[in-house]
Symmetry: C2
């Protein structure tokens, strides 16, 4: 029995986005068509530069960065909401089209935290996707309703993090 | 303050190897030289096919699969030990040479579980590596001594897994 899986990588530890991109790499290497929509990160990450070079015999990877970053300051929050909703529209189109085998919504759960979307908005779209399509959502605290709907959930639990020892974020490791 | 980090991705949940390959992708995209040694997996994974296509402006990724698979049957266990020890020699050479910016030892902790190596064998090599070199180890139950020596530890905790519902491993998702 095989089926399209709804996967959630959550938790407060490091590794969610890395695992999502590793999953994209694995899927593309097996000839799958992958679409990644990043809802928060918007700077040039190493994984983007690298993935853009994939071509040829592997499947395809398309990446959309819709996150304009976010801030508690009012103006930026308005901009974040707008870009998030545009990203959600793109996600709905990609999921509905059936043109991808794996859709990755990176840092998507922020849209639920900030009440830009509700579980009632997103779950019908997720559960009524094409039968063979895999869906991977990352982000902290997705909430019970999303967790209940998922087929596979891994919590990336922080055991130790170097920021707490005063080590700065480093190129190639954190971005 | 920046420094070479010793990172462990552990836990019984899915995502450790994906996160390691995502990390390799990120690092390579930032121009770092990455060396991956896989101690257990030996079949053609999608991520390998994909990573092999990376070239050009990104850093380099070299991948060595030293694991011949393993089994509780005596003969295979002997072969696994031999290949594991050869892999460890390769890891020591790579770490000692300083030719890489990130060394990834995927599923390395099995060598400790099966008492092929002890923490006393590996920790001096890990802690005396070149100062700027990042080291990433994946695998279940690394043990207290490795955990204590690490700068960053994430536990991939299994919350839900589709195998338990009878869904088979799928190309592009599990390999």
């Amino acid at each position: 029995m095989t089926q399209g899986l709804f996967i959630i990588y959550t938790g407060h530890g490091k590794g969610k986005t890395c695992a999502a991109f590793g999953q994209a790499l694995r899927a593309a290497g097996q000839g799958l068509r992958v679409c990644i929509i990043q809802f928060v990160k918007s700077r040039a990450c190493g994984e983007l530069t690298a993935l853009e070079q994939l071509s040829g015999s592997t499947g395809s990877v398309e990446i959309h960065q819709v996150g304009s970053g976010f801030s508690w300051r009012d103006k930026e929050m308005t901009r974040f909401k707008e870009s998030a909703l545009a990203g959600w529209q793109l996600a709905r189109d990609k999921i509905g089209s059936g043109d991808c085998d794996l859709v990755i919504l990176d840092e998507f759960t922020y849209l639920l935290h900030f009440h830009i979307l509700s579980p009632g908005d997103v779950l019908p779209v997720f559960t009524q996707r094409p039968e063979k399509m895999h869906l991977l959502v990352t982000g902290r605290d997705p909430g019970e309703e999303l967790l209940d709907a998922a087929d596979l959930v891994t919590e990336m639990r922080e055991i130790r993090h170097p920021f707490k020892k005063g080590v700065a974020a480093q190129k190639g490791i954190e971005w």
